[in-house]
Symmetry: C2
Subunit: 248 residues, 2 copies
Amino acid sequence: MIFSLYLPPAEIEDAIPLIWWLSGLTCTDDNFSQKGGFQEYAAKHKVAIAIPDTSPRGDNIPDSNDWDLGQGASFYVDATQEPWAENYHMYTYITQELTQIMHDLVPGYSGKESIIGHSMGGHGALMIGLKNSNRFSSISAFAPILNPIQVPWGIKAFNAYLGSEESTWHEWDATSLIKQMDQIPPILITQGTADTFYDVQLQEDAFMKAAQNKPVQYDKKDGYDHSYFTISTFIGQHIAFHVEQLNK
Amino acid sequence: MIFSLYLPPAEIEDAIPLIWWLSGLTCTDDNFSQKGGFQEYAAKHKVAIAIPDTSPRGDNIPDSNDWDLGQGASFYVDATQEPWAENYHMYTYITQELTQIMHDLVPGYSGKESIIGHSMGGHGALMIGLKNSNRFSSISAFAPILNPIQVPWGIKAFNAYLGSEESTWHEWDATSLIKQMDQIPPILITQGTADTFYDVQLQEDAFMKAAQNKPVQYDKKDGYDHSYFTISTFIGQHIAFHVEQLNK
């Protein structure tokens, strides 16, 4: 497994928090590091940024011919179905194996973490953040899938990775998770209205209904699309949002 | 020909200057727009950014099997040799044809221009800026080839595009040009010391000797390499340098 880790310029006495970034369909750990434009803000606020890949990789790893299933499209779940069950344990990889590695790699790690993601990775951030709400100080997402069990991308992936029994899907669905929770970390979501996936894949109604009276800020941005141009425009705002929580 | 043009958010009464960006070997107009991180600064200072491709393109356009000659590697000259002479007129394309198009496309264009480039495009910026020193308010470059007629990349390209008669090369060589000039626009050059091309292709001694007593600032940056990470780190400084001249 390949990953990227950004370390800010820092002094020996600095306590450095860690923000996780989960990318979307088809991405690797390179997309955000090359196009996200976060480095200036991460340097200024002295935070480390962990950027995992979006799935297991390799010639011997199961894949599909579709760009929205298999390599590059893990949905960050632990798969239970063949042929995915052996390798596609991205949830456990990120929350346990890679967590230990990242904590060891950040000099002066403060013990505080937040999580951000984009699209499929936006859902990953919400799902992982909500399932580990004592661990993450805050959660944010750009153009996230909010209710995968109700939209085409999520239904296809969850059928493949988790099987056709829909009752097993809820523990991996951000809308189902937030509905059941009384206390959650603060959440910031940025969604461009010119995003071509917005209407069908990224609809927010069910999530926002389930999130009623919980600290969720949902920002619509007129004219912004699904691209990294949108991310690089607002990443400074997202990092500042997290830093406020991480430094409490 | 494909190009990119960044227009800043602006009011109808704003006068908008234009900064040209010339990319390096193998690039298209996409590299800087996706990885350069300039948008924040161009928006703040209200400047437009013109980003041409690095050569003519297409199945019927001459090319070579080498990444440093042919498509993606024009060196921004007007070729005189076969098979390049018909299509490889990048100097005239940029300074005349595309100039007219860009001026027409920038609402409230102020009539002021500067030019920046990277590597091969860093030389292009210096060469074009020096050959048109009344037109450009300032010139800057990241890791530029400074003396192409003395280094492997340039010797190969100039032989192919201009022929083996070296006397024809000088009018396209930034070091030869600056040597002959008394007045030049202010120049800023940023060069990373960890750039693997630095020693052989990007050596500065001859250029800096020819530039003695002229307004050239040559900044070495310890540990920075030839990549767009270096560019995105210092692009704000370069844009501020140009804006100071453009707003005079």
